[in-house]
């Protein structure tokens, strides 16, 4: 199937793009390779959601934005989300990275935190070593295309033994629905390092904005003994299609924690996986989502166990309103040789409307005998007995339901590592639930 993209993506256009950014030759070659692969590969085919019917061709045009010296120059809705970042902050607006800042203390320790374009120019060896290694270009049309057109993004490098207390933050902000919005994040945590990274993906397009297919890919490399916490909140407007692939490779005794708020208003494909390569590697994923109006969502979490004694836990909680649809997949795969591993998952969907749809699909693929694995999945409504109980204490029906819904989401919300993000998430939940 060929898709007529809103902006042509081919050898000439991506070569020109790369040169306009002053990128090294190796990167230009990789972009060209991505463009060529994209011509033949197919879009991904997640379970029961035909994303190829979405307006995936609306990728926008490459635009540029002037840099800012302080987040206060952003519209207030965006600057609020970046306020209070002490350790470091990277801001992307539409197709361009406009701001990056890192505390002198962390810079002195060798931490690199900047947009990926700058990193490719200034730390080419490091970026070249890891880029496209976790999410290969040739997996499907999305991974190929994104590798050709990506912009801005983040590169975070944490040297060996460096432990970063405060979270590093990024803001991906789109206020031009006609601009390519394709951030790419590459995070490398060297041996025994420790870091928390949080990003916000937001848009402000106004009424009647054209469609925009936003593609983002996240690659995380967790070296032996390192511990990475990755928290992300997506909440763009309904005209935006959110295609996001996040993947971590975890080496011996490394830990990856994902906290994902898929609170986007438009169609969403969100795919988060941990590849537990090393022995003793550990992954914990928590996802919350709220579906409203006629949005369609495919939410996948996955853990692939290769190493011995590896552990994974995945929890997804989704609340579905209106005519929204969510297909929620949890995939635990335990490879031969991953003895003494343990993978657990739970997907729960709360339906608030008879027209909404929520499917929870736990999938266990186990090729090793000496392991533990567990799953739980449920789809249900707000329990009328619980509403009655709360009302019998004087709480109104509306407040009773709100308490129950927030309670349903609490196991994920309470895990958000940063209070400001937690509060922001609460506000978003409130908005999506009330709206």
């Amino acid at each position: 199937m060929s898709t007529q993209l809103s902006t042509p993506v081919n050898r000439q256009t991506v070569s020109a793009l790369s040169q306009s950014k002053g990128e090294p030759a190796w990167l230009e070659e990789l972009r060209i390779k991505g463009a060529e692969l994209a011509e033949t590969l197919e879009w991904p085919t997640p379970e029961k959601v035909r994303i190829s019917r979405w307006n995936l061709a609306a990728i926008g045009n490459h635009t540029s934005q002037t840099r800012i010296s302080s987040v206060s120059e952003l519209p207030s809705s965006a600057s609020e989300l970046a306020a209070g970042a002490q350790a470091g902050l990277v801001v992307q607006r539409n197709s361009t990275s406009v701001h990056s800042q890192l505390s002198a203390e962390l810079a002195a320790k060798g931490v690199i935190f900047t947009d990926l374009e700058t990193a490719a120019r200034e730390h080419g060896d490091l970026v070249q070593k890891y880029l496209f290694q976790v999410v290969p270009q040739d997996e499907n049309k999305l991974t190929a295309l994104q590798s050709a057109i990506w912009n801005g993004g983040v590169f975070l490098y944490v040297p060996k033994n460096v432990e970063i207390e405060l979270p590093l933050q990024a803001l991906f902000y789109s206020d031009d629905a006609g601009a390519v919005f394709a951030p790419r994040v590459l995070l490398v945590a060297e041996n025994h390092s420790r870091v928390t990274y949080v990003d916000n993906v937001v848009s402000e397009h106004g009424e009647g904005a054209e469609s925009l297919a936003k593609q983002s890919i996240v690659e995380v490399i967790v070296k032996p003994g390192a511990h990475v916490r990755y928290a992300t909140v997506h909440h763009m407007s309904a005209n935006v299609i959110d295609l996001t692939v996040r993947r971590a490779v975890v080496e011996n005794d490394g830990i990856i924690e994902w906290v994902i708020g898929d609170l986007h208003d438009g169609h969403t494909m969100s795919d988060t996986q941990s590849l537990l390569k090393g022995k003793g590697a550990n992954s914990d994923a928590k996802v919350i989502s709220i579906g409203t109006n006629s949005q369609q969502m495919s939410l996948t979490t996955g853990a692939v166990h290769f190493g011995r004694n590896t552990e994974s836990s995945m929890v997804t909680r989704a609340v579905m309103k209106d005519q929204a649809t969510a297909i929620i997949n949890g995939i635990t795969k335990i490879e031969k040789g991953a003895t003494k591993s343990n993978g657990v998952q739970a997907e729960k969907v709360l339906m608030l409307s008879p027209k909404a749809r929520g499917d929870a699909n736990p999938i266990l693929l186990i090729d090793e005998d000496d392991v533990k694995a567990g799953h739980a999945a449920s789809v249900g409504q707000v329990n009328p007995e619980q509403v009655y109980y709360l009302m019998s204490r004087g709480i109104s029906k509306k407040d009773a339901e709100r308490l129950i819904i927030h309670g349903f989401l609490a196991p994920v919300v309470s895990e958000i590592p940063i209070d400001a993000v937690k509060e922001q998430l609460q506000r978003l939940l409130e908005r999506k639930l009330e709206g």
């Binding site: 329990n383 009328p384 007995e385 619980q386 009655y388 109980y389 709360l390 009302m391 019998s392 204490r393 004087g394 709480i395 109104s396 029906k397 407040d399 009773a400 308490l403 129950i404 927030h406 309670g407 349903f408 989401l409 609490a410 196991p411």
Partner: protein, 259 residues
Amino acid sequence: MATQFKIDGLKAAIEGKDILKGINLEIKGGEVHAIMGPNGTGKSTLASALMGHPKYEVTDGEVILDGENLLEMGVDERARAGLFLGMQYPSEISGVTNSDFLRSAINARREEGKEISLIKFIRQMEGKMKELEMNPEFAHRYLNEGFSGGEKKRNEILQMMMLDPKIVVLDEIDSGLDIDALKIVANGVNAMRSEDRGFLIITHYQRLLNYIKPDFVHVMMQGRIVKSGGPELAERLENEGYDWVKDELGIVDETVGQV
């Protein structure tokens, strides 16, 4: 004015089955009434119908609390009007902490902008929990989730104490309580006895009534109050069972709603 609570000719059905066949009962502020009766005779149905459980359909009668007809109100309005029901089987609600829940319940009784301050609330809650010898950690536990039977009952009493109701209905508050907990719960209830509060205590056991002295004891069978008396009635029931009541009244099957 002391609280006046009057149930007049209350009939209720569930899933088309008539369960309550006309209940008449008057409770004044300061009084404690006990309802006893064999299993399946409609005691919990009475409690649920008073509270307004959506499954129970009131088919006749009136329930007046201080001049207001409770039956015209929603469940939450009845609670705010001063009715409290300590349930036989309290719900568990995951993700909602006991303290968030209780604070919402208190604030539901207050005007917007006049919510209880967090400090004041915490002080009150901690004080009441101490009286009930509850571990302070229960404030942060999810509502009734994983609570033992006795802990749930104690938590019902905590809510009663925090919400300061006018009419308290306790449905088998003593079931699942060990003897120490029974005393603690009874002390909690006794501390709440006052001229402007009336109690309706549903129980199977005289034991509870040793600690909470009732003014009146009623026996329920076949969805009606079939006999009323003073505390001595409870003692006789404890010693002799219900057969003599049935004989006296010519009742063969005391249950209601069974086919």
